[in-house]
Symmetry: C2
């Protein structure tokens, strides 16, 4: 449903191909709708808002599905096969969207699937980085427990901000930097629980590994944005197709490394249930939403979106699962809210 909405928006963008290019240079100079064409600017703003909201909703429903599946005790499928199917589904969605565009607009330079080595050579890099990060994830649990890892994962916020600045050379204003530090502190505060202090006893190796993982994850995100933004007029579905094809490839490698025996003995779909299928669908749609946010907004918006999703998940879990909200959660939410406000204020004054 969300995907349909995004698709319709996207089609609009294909009618005026220079649109996205305009958005990028505009948002860089920071003077939105300063001259003429305000309806174009409005369209861009609308599309940016819709993909951001879609990502927020999909991310929070993702977390809720995970809690639900754990509660239902269904977690015995192999994660690598599910990840492979997520990539395959994203590929299928991209192809479906493309075939609709082809039948409406005909095949153009921007929406044709065939490509050059120059364009496609960078697409495997994010997928490879994510694979390395996911493999490292198995080793970090030798140093920290799962709740501690949740806390350390907030280092992603800081690493994304730093790499966004260094690699994409996009400037955040001083207030936006302050806001970003607050986002990290607020998210961590919201996740505090009575045993969180254990994380301070994490050994040096654990810290290093957490920092490397944060850098890998941040780098993969920023690099994806760089790839997608490099060719602003290129149709996002083509870009997604190539990203996801390599994603499928690397996840096939992961299946062989980690779950070859299980798949060979019990079958590819062993342990799957309705909830597994829903999770795969949700992950696929979230992945597409992430790409859309990279195309029409940026990594900073993505981090804000997933952080707000984390808070939303907790609030929804109160109603769905009778979860209990802590004082730390309220305080963290206040800090995150002020951070979101400051980020928007900082943009205006830039």
């Amino acid at each position: 449903m969300e995907y349909r909405k995004i698709k319709d928006e996207d089609k609009e963008g294909d009618v005026i191909p220079s649109d996205v290019e305009g958005l990028q240079s505009k948002s860089l100079s920071g003077t939105v709708a300063a001259f003429g064409g305000s309806s174009r600017e409005q369209n861009k703003w609308k599309r940016k808002t819709i993909v951001t909201i879609a990502l927020t909703i999909l991310t929070s429903s993702q977390a809720i599905l995970i809690v639900w599946s754990k509660r239902a005790g269904k977690y015995e499928y192999s994660v690598t096969t599910a990840n492979f199917l997520v990539e395959a589904l994203k590929c299928a969605f991209s192809l479906a969207a493309l075939s609709r565009i082809w039948s409406n607009d005909g095949i153009t330079d921007d929406n044709r699937l065939s490509t050059t080595w120059d364009e496609v050579s960078v697409y495997p890099i994010p997928a490879a980085l994510y694979l390395i990060k996911n493999l490292l994830q198995y080793y970090i649990f030798a140093y920290v427990d799962a709740p501690g890892y949740q806390i350390l994962k907030n280092l992603n916020i800081i690493s994304t901000g730093v790499l966004y600045r260094i690699i994409l050379k996009r400037k955040l204003s001083e207030i936006q930097w302050a806001a970003f530090i607050l986002l990290g502190a607020g998210c961590t505060t919201a996740q505090l629980n009575p045993s969180s202090d254990h994380v301070l006893q994490t050994p040096f190796h654990g810290w290093m590994m957490a920092i490397v993982m944060a850098l890998l994850s941040g780098f993969a995100g920023v690099y994806t944005e760089a790839i997608i933004k490099k060719r602003p007029s290129r149709n996002i579905n083509v870009q997604n197709f190539w990203l996801y094809i390599f994603g499928m490839g690397f996840n096939a490698i992961a299946i062989i490394i980690q779950d070859f025996d299980a798949v060979a003995n019990k079958g590819f779909f062993h342990g799957y249930s309705l909830i597994t299928a829903l999770m795969i669908l949700n992950h696929a749609l979230s992945g597409i939403a992430v790409s859309m946010v990279m195309k029409y907004a940026d990594n900073i918006v993505k981090v804000y979106s997933t952080s707000v999703a984390m808070l939303l998940t907790a609030v929804v879990s109160v109603f769905l699962f009778g979860f209990h909200l802590s004082l730390a959660f309220f305080l963290g939410s206040i800090v995150v809210s002020v951070s979101v406000y400051m980020h928007s204020i900082g943009k205006i004054q830039r």
Copy 2:
């Protein structure tokens, strides 16, 4: 020592009586040192900085003395007699400073002790408000425990900001408001401990009482600033003298209400020790520093100063008493630091 420093600074102010008036109107318009007289501006800024640092150091050493006295198990003196002595000592300090000023500069309209009913009639109000607040303090413990009360006391930050805006009609910029909300959230986060969530179970009556106490405390602070700032050229020691004389009066009432029997049977100084004397001296100096901050800065600076002092206390306690800093403390400190930065940024852009 700190007091001496403040005094010397203050003497400087008496040589140029219009000085303070200038400071006030300047800081209102927010254009510091925009034209000429930059050395005057520098002196004002220096004085403001010194009183703020003095207040921060005195407040944090206050908290450390309290911990020390509790550790030493010496807490059996009656608090009301100590409070009375604090007011008396502040009175004595003010008179000593005044007598030095009189012998140096002679008696002028601004430094004479005699006053009009019109000037003096408002001075009892802050003392009366503090008395009511201190009496309420005994009743709130029926609803919350001591650590819970520490958490709820952070409502003072918000009430001070709101009353500062309403009563003194001084504007904070949007960023400064955001910073102030962060200050409250950050201080509370820094004080979180595994049992903090109990405070969420505070009954309605407890919340109401905590809010009333926060309003009383905020109102007393803001009202004191209004009294002191109303006559900018009036010597601060005269203003302090009148404030503290009424403070002595109201604390005498408190002795009669709460500790009459204890004082009558065991004597006024029962249970006093060296540490009690140090605490009384420290409270007196802190009280004078608060007045100075009200005169040369404002309630907002006071709140920041005491909040930073709270963090300093915790850090110093690690070395002195082997206290353990929590992850929540680190996160709260980050948020408070960003808040201080934003407050200063917000001022420039106003």
